[in-house]
Symmetry: C2
Subunit: 691 residues, 2 copies
């Protein structure tokens, strides 16, 4: 895969020698690997496992992207299994006050009962193509950081368009190793997705926020959908067969999903920026949102239902971010990062030729962090929409961006267009006013002197402004959105809709901040990140894994407990443990159990494995990922990491960091004994032709 | 010149016959003629005048565009003569409180004393090329009005760019006969322009506003500049020799200048729109501005000096607009227009084939007028900037438009870029606050419910907002403007300058109104205006003159008095008349005379002709135009029309409508006897080699 132009290959032999001294042995089972870079030799050597193309292709075609997360085909008739929390939005959209599917769960006894989910789109990776040469060839000597980025982006945009036009697939160029490698990913998409089965929220999220990111754990975090094509269930040979063999400690397992983002190639200064600027802001912000959402939820059961999904998302993010931050606050981890970086930089500084090529990269990145810190708050409030915490503002902003992109080269993907025109999650205006009011208050507190703040809140209270915006906007009407979308900039600029007007008023300052970020921060990071990565990459080639980028990856590890505070934590939990924990907390939320689970306890095999852990390298976005054994059989669905796994965003660790899975055995046991859903269990087990 | 594609030539013979019956004999000396369409046969027949190419080319090359008005070369060393009121802005920019050149006049006794005018650009038409075919070929069958307009504009833009790149000249495609003909005009430009001579304001504008657009008249409305190239006076053979023969009634004279805009091909409904919507708005608006400007001027002599040029411009526009409106209010004139139009439309309706081609044109234009009326006020306030009456807002708006145009095909002409970066008229912040305050008041009165009004004026008074905008903006600093211009959209969107922020806030609504006007009004007018014009044009060809478009035209007529209220008005006035009128008004402003004129009266030949009138067809923009005799010698400079000439914007008339000229004889007399400027007089008369 070493497809770099020769002028980038300037590492002298002396530096190579030096680097080799610095390199630690490849950290054990580290890596969320693109399917074209899977370390087959390593797997063969360490695990005596032969990752054949056939085995890999089958797993890849069975892997499904579900929103920003993961899922898999688990039957020849298009059943798709994911976490309950991944399918939660779709389930909530099918709910009403009278029929709360999130709370009560759902099971379609016949295909006719399967519920069509609007606005859900699944995609499956069809192929990967290396386009590094073509992207790099856009770059000319003497270009500035900004020009390099623009040139690359133009090339990427052209490659994507060509490939889409040619294949009819959704095509995306992925930047790997901080822009040292570019791969073209092609996806087939499915839009007719129907809900087949969902557990009750109480068992899906047993332990609630207190237990989130912890282990031992007792969650049946599962929902099941079915993909249709032409109104018929999708027929596929690439689905995962169900393993009926219980897992044992030490078993090799694989995970195939879409990890979102890691920062293991970031420089020390980039980590400092996250630790001192970005994460503190995000954590404070999420805490504030958590508080106002809970306040809303306490106003009544209907409010609780409406807010629950948002609360879940906010608390999930809060715990994740706090976890990531815990790694950065860890003095030892940071000292280790710094020492490694300093060794490399000193070696480079000692060689004039290398100093010229790579010497400035770290300092320029550090400078970019300072620059970003200087406008980070404005950027979050205006460009990232932090000041306008309502779905309507996001809609308005998207419509404006789409109108402006119209006619230009980079048309927005049709999926976005479809979402604009068609179905949106149910929006509750009372809830939107509540959220928007608080974010406007926050704007007034944090950025009182900005002109936009003064225009918007100069003579009306946040409550008044939020009320008038939300009650005044017509964006809830899909027909209205469609008209605006089709009308393009003419319709947008002439609209009197107050939310469109607001988004237009904010648009210039948002653009300014976006351009400043892109040109003065991101371009510098991209250019210099590539330099930093090229040094490392030239040494180790693809034996070091690239950072996660939200695209399909394969990771692996062994089923294994760990030691915490001197205590052995077992590799799995059982149904018995679930009932013990519920009892310990007197069946009070978030440790309450659904009625059925209490009534049918006696019918269950309580020794059934419920959750298990493995040293699989994963991160947010992996939720719902299928976990398979050597035979490629489904053994579970990843749904979380323990709290020790969070700092692995920046540094891999496998002593105590674990991914947490729902065991497939528990699902089958519950389908049959609790949910009276033997036909579905049989379809998963392949025991009946089809239902 | 009949360069139309054959599919536009569908006039049947029967209709032609009918039309020919309708056609009145070509109205006498009507016409402001493009140099490539001069009616040579008519001139030969009626006046026994042979308009040779040599004669025409010489006059064309001696004709100079000065701002939006006219001027001419009058010496082989680059002297340029124009009206005082045309040069007034440049003269005022050279003035200070200590040296008021507008009030006191100026004469450079040596070349070294000539004062360089910043921001003045003169241009001379080098050639005209027919590009009708190419523009029309962009139009495809089945296109909407909007698409046709866009296609033509794209073609025009390409033609202009190609020609500019090829010749290095400023190139502009001019639409003639409502888009029935397109000609490419190429201009050479001059930027080093120096003030040589200016009379005192009191004699230039003797009679002031009361006498503006009247006759008999007594103004020496003259200023003289010199063009330099490479710091040397421009040497040119194409200058006008000075006539020393006094004019007599009946003499044939020609006028070469840049008449701005006539509407003689407008439909009846377009005239109704002007009469009932556009002109009433403009007149009220100008009256309001006139009042607040006078209020400002009464605050002190310095305020009077600062406001004087603006007052002059507003009052000039007010008188002109009122004059145009007087034609539209004239029931006979309107009835005549309507009758003519109805005859044509009935004839078309009677023939199905013609009805299909032309029948809808008038109705569609009528519909566009209704559409425009529905948003005319918003359009004026937001898109035309009526709400923000300050130079700074115009600067901010231009900077934004330029930033947005950057990178797109239609770059702004470099002249605009130059103006942005470089010299601007002196701006007085106190005056700007005064003007802006009132226009903001007006916005609040007229459009209180618009979101933009509420944001801007919701909790602060117009005074406060104007004060904070004007004192806050840094746009007065040319370096700051230059930085913003060079920084493009990134710099603009990130600017914290309050005036830039305001213009950005207004930009979306302004764009919406602009797009609505372009697509729903102008495109309909262009498409259907072409149809209406094609009918007429096919009948008479270029024997009917096209409407004025601000480009160089030749018109002609005879020196001739007229009858008003039964009284014979003489063809010229004399210096004697000037003194009589001054005395009649006790030498009180605006009938006061400069000190020198009083002291040196006795030295003058009081029979010298001062102003004269002729039946020359002209309109605003012709100010400063050279008027020449059969030999092509300079006999005077057009500076006004009588009040009866104003309705000729829409209908030509020559019984009482007259253009008013300064007689060249009076200038020579004054230069020698009053201004002690014999060297300059000699240069004009060609009596000395050069000074």
């Amino acid at each position: 895969m070493n497809k770099f132009r020769s002028n980038h290959l300037k590492l002298s032999l002396s530096l190579l020698a030096l680097f080799i001294c610095l390199i630690l042995p490849l950290a054990a089972d580290e890596g969320m690997w693109p399917y074209n870079l899977v370390p087959k030799d390593y797997l063969a050597k360490k695990y005596n496992f032969k990752a054949t193309d056939e085995w890999l292709n089958h797993l890849r075609f069975a892997s499904v992207r579900f929103g920003g997360a993961s899922a898999s085909f688990v039957s020849p008739d298009g059943l798709v299994l994911t976490n309950h929390h991944v399918g939660r939005g779709a389930i909530q959209n099918l709910s009403t006050p009278e029929r709360d599917l999130v709370k009560n769960g759902f099971y379609a006894r016949t295909r006719a009962e399967e519920l069509k989910c609007r606005g859900v789109e699944l995609s499956v990776l069809q192929g990967i193509e290396d386009v590094t040469d073509r992207v790099f060839s856009a770059e000319k000597p003497g270009m500035s950081a900004q020009e390099i980025m623009a040139a690359r982006e133009k090339a990427i945009s052209e490659i994507q368009k060509e490939a889409s036009d040619k294949t009819g697939l959704r095509c995306q160029v992925v930047s790997l190793y901080s822009g040292s490698m570019y791969n073209l990913y092609k996806y087939k998409t499915y839009n007719d997705v129907r809900l087949v089965f969902a557990v009750e929220d109480a068992i899906a999220f047993f332990g609630g926020d207190p237990d989130n990111f912890t282990y031992p754990r007792y969650d049946l975090d599962i929902s099941i959908f079915r993909v249709y094509e032409n109104d018929q269930p999708l027929k596929t040979k690439d689905y995962l067969k169900w393993s009926t063999t219980p897992l044992k400690e030490g078993d090799l397992v694989f995970c195939s999903g879409n990890p979102g983002s890691t920062g293991r190639l970031l420089t020390y200064d980039q980590l400092l920026f996250l630790r001192d600027v970005s994460y503190p802001f995000t954590i404070n912000n999420l805490k504030r949102r958590q508080a106002i959402l809970h306040e809303y939820a306490t106003r009544g059961p209907e409010q609780e239902r409406i807010a629950s999904n948002t609360i879940f998302g906010v608390e999930n993010s809060l715990k994740a971010t706090t976890g990531y931050q815990s790694g950065l606050i860890d003095k030892d981890l940071m000292a280790k990062k710094l020492a490694e970086e300093q060794q490399i930089r000193q070696a480079i500084a000692a060689n004039p030729e290398l100093a010229k090529e790579f010497g400035q990269a770290w300092d320029e990145i550090a400078q970019a962090q300072k620059e970003f810190a200087s406008f980070f708050k404005q950027y979050q409030f205006f460009e990232r929409g932090n000041a306008f915490n309502t779905t309507y503002f996001n809609l308005a902003k998207s419509l404006i961006r789409m109108a402006e992109a119209k006619g230009s080269q980079n048309r927005p993907p049709m999926a976005e267009a479809g979402r604009m025109m068609g179905f949106m999650s149910q929006i509750n205006d009372d809830f939107e006013i509540w959220k928007l009011t608080d974010s406007l208050k926050q704007l007034k507190e944090e950025l009182p002197e900005e002109q936009e703040t003064k225009w918007l809140l100069g003579c009306q209270s946040p409550e008044e402004v939020a009320m008038s915006l939300i009650t005044g906007t017509k964006l809830k009407d899909p027909e209205f959105r469609k008209k605006l979308m089709e009308g393009g900039s003419e319709a947008i600029y002439q609209s009197n809709d107050p939310m469109i007007k607001l988004a237009l008023m904010i648009d210039p300052v948002a653009r300014g901040l976006r351009e400043r970020h892109e040109n003065k921060v991101r371009a510098v990071e991209v250019k210099n990140g590539t330099l930093v990565a090229r040094a490392l990459f030239q040494l180790k080639g693809t034996s070091i894994p690239p950072d996660a980028t939200g695209t399909l990856r394969l990771s692996f590890g062994v089923v294994k407990g760990y030691i915490e505070n001197g205590k052995k934590i077992p590799f799995h939990t059982t149904l018995a443990g679930l009932y013990q924990k519920a009892q310990k907390f007197n069946y009070q939320p978030p440790y309450s159990l659904p009625e059925k689970w209490i009534q049918k306890k006696s019918s269950l095999n309580l020794n059934t494995s419920l959750n298990f852990v493995a040293t699989i390298d994963s991160i947010g976005g992996n939720s719902g990922s299928p976990v398979v054994n050597r035979k490629g059989e489904f053994v579970g669905a990843l749904f979380d990491g323990n709290i020790q796994s969070l700092p692995t965003r920046f540094v891999y660790e496998e002593k105590v960091s674990r991914s947490v899975m729902v065991d497939g055995q528990a699902l089958i046991e519950a389908l049959i004994k609790i949910y009276d859903a033997r036909p579905l269990a049989d379809e998963l087990l392949g025991r009946l032709p089809t239902r």
